[in-house]
């Protein structure tokens, strides 16, 4: 086989495969045979039924007198979809091909106004040809009515000398609104999604903000709700004023073995409970912040485990105790919120300065080393700024106290002006020497001949 023939054969095979593939795709995608329950009817000019059937495959139909074709759609058709009605006439038994003209109209539901759809018809072949063995009449229309009572009616005119032909008739949906619907749906989805996405984002943002706010709020509430409580016992260990107790007016009454406590801090929300009670005529009293008496309650009025109401403005309480029986005993539970407890717990003493102090304090070089002798003048200088302490001398078993100069003279008001002048004088001299020393150091720093170290003469 020559190269040219091989080349042509390859192209033919490939083209055929492509055509078959396209046909397969087209047939499967676009062609959809309409419901088999559709009824096909061929009429004569006077509407005489020439043939009617739901099955159209290889039917022997006398089409010689057919002038009308009607297809009744027993199922609802899709709106805006395009249907194709095909009348395929096998002309193998004829001497020559008849000539057909076709037209059609889509008629609406029975009893309703007919709605004319887009109609087109194609007759293949147009004209006549003695070489063609088959004629296909195609009607297409675009339905805009979805009723199941629709029918399509087409007219058919032809010239033929034959009487019976094998014919098939079918209706197919060759295009539908699925693409448009899909496109519209997709757009709707996109639009909805955009809208939904924005909504979701907005909601998420809002929710996130709410969560953060809630968390912050909850954290604050949590901190506030974390109460720090301290329970103390008021008993004989709190005794201060002895041989007396408090009477109903908050004053003292004298009696042996009785005692009154000091002012014990209390709050309006504290819980004061009498654990063990004492009879008699002694009282316990509440006081304000400035220790003004508010009210008193008798020990004899209490019962064990009784919780005692505390006045709202109470800041202190004093309790009368009988030391002989070691009664009464109270528990006082003071609670503060977490923030308050934290604030109260932070004092200047909480600052850990041990690290800085240890840096200098850990150098312990003893008093019997050469380095201690060398640094002794520095230690002496360092002590110059210490606060003066009076010196106490003992002479003949008598202590003689030598007061500081400030006490004797310099703190007197009538010498304050002189002291100021005196300090300016010596401070100025020191400042002068300090300035000249700095100038000399800076000046000598640029003198290459002076690289010795100057210091104090010990």
């Amino acid at each position: 086989m020559s190269d040219t023939a091989t080349y042509i054969l390859k192209r033919v095979v490939i083209g055929t495969l492509i055509a078959l593939a396209l046909m397969f795709i087209k047939g499967n995608i676009l062609t959809e045979v309409y419901a088999s329950t559709s009824k096909y009817t061929l009429y004569a000019q006077d509407y005489t039924v020439l043939w009617s059937n739901t099955v159209t495959t290889n039917q022997t139909i006398n089409v010689q007198n057919v002038s009308r074709i009607r297809v009744n759609f027993t199922d609802a058709i899709a709106e805006n979809s395009t249907y194709q009605i095909t009348l395929k006439i096998d002309v193998t038994a004829t001497d020559y091909v008849p000539y057909y003209n076709a037209s059609g109209v889509f008629v609406g539901a029975t009893g309703q106004d007919a709605e004319v759809a887009t109609v087109s018809s194609t007759v293949t072949p147009q004209g006549s040809s003695s070489f063609l063995r088959e004629a296909v009449i195609t009607y297409t229309f675009k339905a805009n009515n979805t009723s199941s009572d629709n029918f399509w009616e087409g007219s058919l005119t032809h010239t033929s000398r034959i009487t019976y032909l094998n014919a098939t008739i079918s209706v197919s949906k060759i295009a539908d609104n699925t693409g448009e619907q899909i496109a519209n749906s997709t757009q709707d989805i996109i639009n909805n999604n955009n809208s939904n996405t924005n909504t979701i984002i907005n909601n998420q943002n809002e929710n996130t903000t709410n969560i953060i706010n809630n968390q912050n709020e909850n954290t604050d509430k949590e901190i506030e709700s974390q109460k720090v409580c301290n329970t103390i016992t008021i008993d004989n260990n709190n005794a201060k004023e002895t041989n007396k107790y408090l009477n109903s007016t908050g004053g003292y009454s004298t009696w042996n073995n009785y005692s009154v406590t000091d002012y014990i801090s209390i709050q309006s929300d504290s819980i004061l409970t009498a654990k063990e009670v004492l009879g008699g005529s002694s009282y316990n009293c509440f006081y304000t912040d400035d220790k003004t008496l508010i009210s008193c309650f008798a020990n004899s009025s209490l019962s064990s485990n009784q919780q005692i109401d505390i006045p709202s403005n109470a800041k202190y309480i004093r309790v009368s105790l009988y030391l002989g029986a070691q009664l009464p005993k109270f528990t006082l539970k003071n609670c503060v919120n977490g923030n308050q407890a934290l604030n109260d717990s932070l004092t200047d003493d909480s600052i850990d300065s041990s690290g800085a102090n240890d840096f200098f304090g850990d150098f312990n070089f003893g008093d019997d080393t050469l380095s201690s002798v060398i640094t002794a003048p520095l230690r002496f200088f360092n002590k110059l700024s210490d606060t003066c302490q009076p010196i106490t001398l003992t002479y003949l078993n008598q202590n003689i106290v030598l007061p500081c100069g400030d006490t004797i003279f310099w703190n007197r008001q009538d010498v304050s002006t002189f002291r100021t002048f005196w300090n300016i004088l010596f401070g100025g001299i020191a400042l002068y020497y300090l300035g000249t020393k700095l100038y000399k150091v800076v000046h000598d720093a640029f003198d290459p001949q002076k690289d010795n170290i100057e210091g104090v003469d010990i």
Binding site: D367, S371, L378, D406, K437
Partner: protein, 99 residues
């Protein structure tokens, strides 16, 4: 503040001197133990002076600001020349070693 700063500088210098002389101190303690007694007496003397220094200063009528200024002068005299010398020494070494 100035007082604390001056005090800190003094302690720093004392600590550095102690570190530098630590081997020598150990050598003296092991080889010349009697010499440490002399050192102790000298230190005791300065400590005694230091105990009465603030008492004596109080009679001079100096305020704390004036005392701090005087101490600042002493600190400068002690530390600044040493710092300048170290810088010059480093520059001298650099000039010697550079190619």
């Amino acid at each position: 503040m100035v007082k604390a700063l001056i005090s800190g500088i003094f302690k720093l210098i004392m600590a550095l001197v102690s570190i530098v002389l630590a081997p020598l101190d150990l050598l003296i303690k092991s080889l010349l133990p009697d010499l440490t007694t002399v050192f102790s007496r000298i230190n005791d003397f300065f400590d005694l002076l230091g105990n009465y220094a603030s008492f004596a200063i109080s009679y001079l009528g100096f305020t704390s600001e004036t005392i701090s200024l005087i101490l600042l002068l002493l600190t400068t005299i002690i530390t600044l020349p040493l710092a300048v010398h170290l810088v010059k020494l480093a520059i001298k070494w650099y000039n010697t070693l550079k190619p």
